[in-house]
């Protein structure tokens, strides 16, 4: 038995690449949103009127007054929750540690600020034979296709009543300009869809939107000074830490609002945004449909059927008073909360807590953006295997290709991403009476929730009853074992030196990677474990072990196998934890961790790779839902079509590197056009028609979006109303839509090229 384990260990790599296995794509219907204890429940909930909080969030999401110069959250998330603009969407690679900030000439012969993308530009990294990496790379670039945002400038103030633009000292940007005439800045990573994003354990491509919302910023428990102001008496208010689980969308929202690439002038706080907005009507200058699915039922619109009018018939301040517990805004005096950097009367409590209102309202609104009526959701399913039976033959074959090509290991569960950690874990936890899926094909929670074990075991994707945030898996080039953050992988899309992704750091200099923190746990450096969920990692659930009880002392250099080097996982916490951490194991023999001494020795030995982590250029696994509509693809927007994405995987990625996941290799579809066509057909079963037709809950107010500047990549016309050194711009108007949606449907990204 032990020998067979050893042989299995040596053969682990081979087994992974040859055997189609792991969870099958499953429906999203009746799948619960990750719980946020204390937000809406408990004895003293933060939100006392959920419907009003959702309305507040929807208004904040779509309101161009949130930004400093007309950028709403929705300005980069208006098309199936993403961005399909094609002009002035290029970033020159500003995340390179020492960037040259030079734009490249793309394949169409142009590029840089105000370039209009064409189909000839894609994919940004191209091979002679797109199906064969060995054919040689023709071209690549460190530029990224993302979203144009703000001109920025230094914040000086804003009207509390009128006008969209803040008063900022604006100049032409040294990077984003055409011959010295300023253009809107462009962020360095592509805007992912907000639809279904509530299921992500962390958000942003690099995971810097913490799972825990602290009420102030995106850093969760990493920021000891974060918190919210709570009124505790008539004349007393105190700043208290906030620790809201499963609130990565709130963490994301407050960071984006303060991005000087996306939305804001510098030196502007979210409290300043509050001061600008609280007295105003939401959506002050944007028409709202009378049948808006959120504002309509609350009688908040000023519109009638044939007369669409801008604004809601209330103010942001009133919405907050209605939605949130008064202890967060009821204190009347100014003074304890600080003052605007740009000057002015000190903040009041509602302004000071505006980061919390903003983050939580947006999260509650985005929590309604769940697309669970795609063909993958509504298909009849086999009661034993839970495979869909009512899809077309091509779509069914395509799902087979999806599994055979190991797409399902990273794109796992109902969201088709392993980043949905809590959701995936919930579904495989047997709870009597708990089922999910469409009414005609209900599936019980438990180990078979995502397909019949053992072949279709969710466990193969690291999904078990305990929501681990760290695992250990296999990388290639050269092959080896590394610790990984669950839901984050390096697939070799771009040069790993172009963008550190998960290998970046937070505002305090701490690595973003949770695997890094797990190492701190292993070496006993507990104070450096900032995200406390890391302390609860169950090592026996790792896809490949870190410490391994083979039953005899054999020094297996990839693992801590010697009895003197390892101790039962949980032994640092106590015997009950040892018991807990030996449940749901890939193998009970994995339920070990290195001793502190062994871990420190390995950590300090550069030749010892047992504590290696694969964080550099690892990115969050995106959901595949509505993928047909959410191009361009990848963190750098380097692919315009799903065909190009499939070719990328068929050739095993673009850039071989030591952190690349082992599954980035050729698979049977690499040499089979029918399999690739079937896979494409399957991917299109993930589109919810309500997203396609912008029907509730995906309806929205009017939105005017900056869409490049007058001119082209070689000339832009100066004289923008904000500053004569800035380029005049063109806009697109997205009309207000009611609950019944639009016709015709929205189109994939490449239809704009």
């Amino acid at each position: 038995m032990n020998l067979s384990k050893l042989l299995l260990g040596f053969g682990l790599v081979a087994s992974q690449i040859t055997l189609a296995h792991g969870p099958i794509p499953v429906p999203l219907q009746k799948v619960p949103i990750p719980p946020v204890p204390g937000l809406l429940d408990g004895p003293d909930p933060i939100v006392i009127n959920k419907d009003m909080a959702i309305a507040l969030g929807k208004a904040l999401f779509w309101d161009v007054n949130v930004g400093s110069d007309g950028m709403a959250c929705a300005s980069c998330h208006f098309h199936a929750g993403a961005d399909n603009r094609v002009t002035n969407q290029i970033n020159p690679g500003t995340l390179i540690p020492e960037p040259d900030n030079q734009f490249d000439t793309l394949n169409s012969g142009s590029g840089g600020p105000n370039h209009t993308l064409t189909s000839a530009d894609f994919p940004l990294t191209e091979f002679n034979n797109p199906l064969d990496k060995s054919s040689g790379m023709i071209r690549t670039t460190d530029d990224a296709i993302a979203s144009s945002g703000t001109f920025s400038g230094e914040f000086k103030g804003a009207s509390r009543f009128s006008g969209t633009n803040d008063n900022c000292n604006r100049n032409a940007d040294p990077i984003f300009n055409v011959h010295g005439v300023g253009t809107r800045r462009v962020e360095p990573r592509n805007a992912p869809t907000v639809i279904n994003a509530v299921f992500n354990h962390r958000n942003f491509w690099d995971g810097r939107a913490n799972n825990i919302f602290n009420g102030s910023n995106s850093w969760g428990d990493r920021d000891p000074n974060a918190g919210v102001w709570v009124q505790i008496g008539r004349r007393s208010v105190t700043k208290q830490p906030l620790h809201l689980e499963n609130s990565a969308l709130a963490s994301q929202a407050v960071a984006t609002a303060l991005s000087e690439l996306e939305m804001t002038c510098s030196k502007r706080s979210i409290a300043d945004i509050g001061r600008k907005l609280l007295s105003r009507k939401p959506l002050q200058y944007q028409k709202v449909h009378p049948e808006d699915s959120v504002f309509g039922p609350l009688n908040l619109t000023n519109s009638s059927t044939n007369n669409l009018k801008p604004g809601l018939n209330t103010t942001y301040g009133r919405m907050i008073r209605s939605a949130f517990s008064r202890k967060y805004w009821g204190y009347r005096r100014r003074g304890p909360f600080g003052s605007p950097e740009a000057g002015g009367i000190p903040y009041n409590q509602m302004e000071a807590n505006f980061p919390m209102f903003f983050g939580l309202a947006l999260q509650l609104y985005e929590s309604t953006l769940v697309s669970d009526q795609a063909p993958i959701d509504t298909a009849l399913r086999d009661p034993v295997t839970y495979k869909p039976t009512s899809l077309t033959d091509s779509e069914k074959r395509g799902m087979g290709v999806f599994i055979e090509s190991h797409c399902n290991i990273c794109h796992s569960g109902p969201l088709l991403t392993s980043a949905a950690i809590v959701t995936n874990s919930t579904l495989v936890t047997p709870i009597p009476g708990k089922v999910y899926g469409p009414d005609h094909s209900l599936r019980s929670y438990g180990p078979d929730a995502m397909g019949k074990s053992p072949i279709d075991a969710a466990k193969d994707a690291g999904i078990t009853e305990f929501p681990n945030v760290v695992t250990r898996d296999i990388t290639r080039n050269p092959q080896g074992q590394k610790l990984m953050d669950v839901g984050f992988f390096n697939t070799g899309v771009g040069d790993p030196n172009n963008d550190p992704g998960l290998g970046g750091t937070d505002d305090f200099g701490n690595p973003l990677s949770l695997s890094y923190q797990y190492i701190q746990y292993l070496i006993g450096n507990y104070s450096e474990v900032k995200d406390k969920m890391v302390m609860n990692t169950h090592s026996c659930q790792f896809i490949t072990p870190i410490a391994w009880n083979l039953g005899f002392d054999f020094n297996f250099p990839a693992f801590f196998t010697l009895s003197t080097e390892r101790e039962p996982d949980g032994s640092r916490e106590g015997s009950s934890e040892i018991t807990k951490r030996s449940q749901n194991c890939q193998d009970p023999a994995y339920a070990w961790i290195p001793t502190v001494d062994a871990a420190i020795a390995a950590f300090n030995n550069p030749d010892d790779s047992r504590l290696a982590i694969a964080d550099k250029a690892a990115f969050k696994v995106p959901t595949l839902r509505n993928i047909e509509l959410t191009g361009p693809y990848m963190h750098n927007g380097s692919m315009a079509t799903l065909e190009q994405v499939i070719e990328f995987y068929a050739r095993g990625g673009n850039f071989d590197n030591g952190n690349q996941h082992d599954f980035l290799t050729r698979t049977p579809m690499s040499d089979d056009p029918q399999k690739r066509a079937d896979l494409l057909a399957f991917l299109k079963t993930l589109t919810d028609d309500r997203v396609r037709f912008e029907q509730a809950p995906f309806d929205h107010p009017e939105l005017i979006v900056p869409n490049g500047h007058i001119g082209d990549a070689f000339f832009v016309e100066p004289g923008h109303a904000l500053d004569s050194d800035l380029a005049k711009e063109t806009t697109i108007t997205i009309p207000a839509v009611g609950a019944s949606g639009i016709s015709p449907a929205i189109e994939p990204f490449d239809s704009n090229l």
């Binding site: 009207s159 509390r160 008539r234 009507k281 301040g317 009133r318 008073r321 008064r326 009347r332 009367i345």
Partner: protein, 237 residues
């Protein structure tokens, strides 16, 4: 001569027909009526002389500029006059012609009760019947006002309240509301309690000069030019 007359009259006509620059303003009024009722549980005594009642009424401003003001008026009725309504009014207002102002005032009425009886049987049952009447109005280019009246218990925890809010561009731009309740408590010998009635008016005003259309300046320049030309002609003649 006729042309020159026309040249003078036209700009005057234009000036008099340009939009009148308005002000932004608000007003807020909170009227608190309350009646005190007291009885002594000590049926043998029924003495109320050991009950001391004090009131403390004051305004605290919190404003950006000095244009606004607030006042209180109180009926001169002794608090010891039980079963008689007491009325206290709080008013705040502001009007600006340009710029902006955050205009905030607190009016606090602290009602304190002290039982100085030495006989522990002297326990007072006290009721405060109160009614708040709030009214607010906002006018002009950009103005809003929220008026809140809150009651805090002796532990300074919020126990009840009412709020009205209007904005100049949301119809209607005035609102009023009533709210009444009764506070009942007992006061044992040696005890003191204070109930806090706090009204808070929170107003935002903004007034930007409406830019005149470019046509006005062009027209005005042209007319001035015409006058000048007429004048020049006359000189030349």
């Amino acid at each position: 001569m006729k042309k020159k007359y026309l040249g003078i009259v036209l700009p005057l006509t234009f000036i008099t027909t340009q939009p009148t620059l308005a002000s932004s303003s608000y007003s807020a009024s909170s009227i608190l009526k309350y009646t005190l009722t007291v009885s002594n549980q000590n049926s043998s005594s029924n003495e109320l002389g050991n009950l001391i009642i004090n009131s403390h009424s004051y305004i605290t401003p919190q404003t950006e500029s000095t244009s606004s003001h607030a006042s209180i008026s109180e009926q001169p009725v002794s608090l010891i006059d039980l079963n008689i309504p007491h009325t206290i009014s709080f008013n705040a207002q502001d009007s600006i012609n340009s710029g902006s102002n955050i205009s905030e005032y607190y009016h606090n009425l602290d009602l304190s009760f002290e039982n100085r009886a030495s006989d522990t049987n002297d326990i007072f049952d006290i009721s405060i019947d109160y009614q708040y009447t709030l009214s607010v109005k906002a006018n002009g280019q950009a103005a809003n006002i929220t008026l809140s009246s809150d009651i805090y218990d002796p532990n300074e925890n919020w126990s009840n309240g009412i709020s009205v809010s209007v904005q100049n561009d949301i119809s209607p731009n005035f609102e009023n509301s009533n709210f009444s309740d009764t506070i009942s408590f007992t006061l044992a010998a040696g005890e003191t309690q204070t109930w806090y009635f706090e009204s808070f008016s929170e107003a935002n005003l903004e007034m930007t000069n409406v830019p005149l259309p470019a046509a006005f300046w062009l027209f005005g320049t042209a007319v001035l030019g015409l006058i000048s030309r007429q004048s020049t002609k006359k000189t030349l003649q």
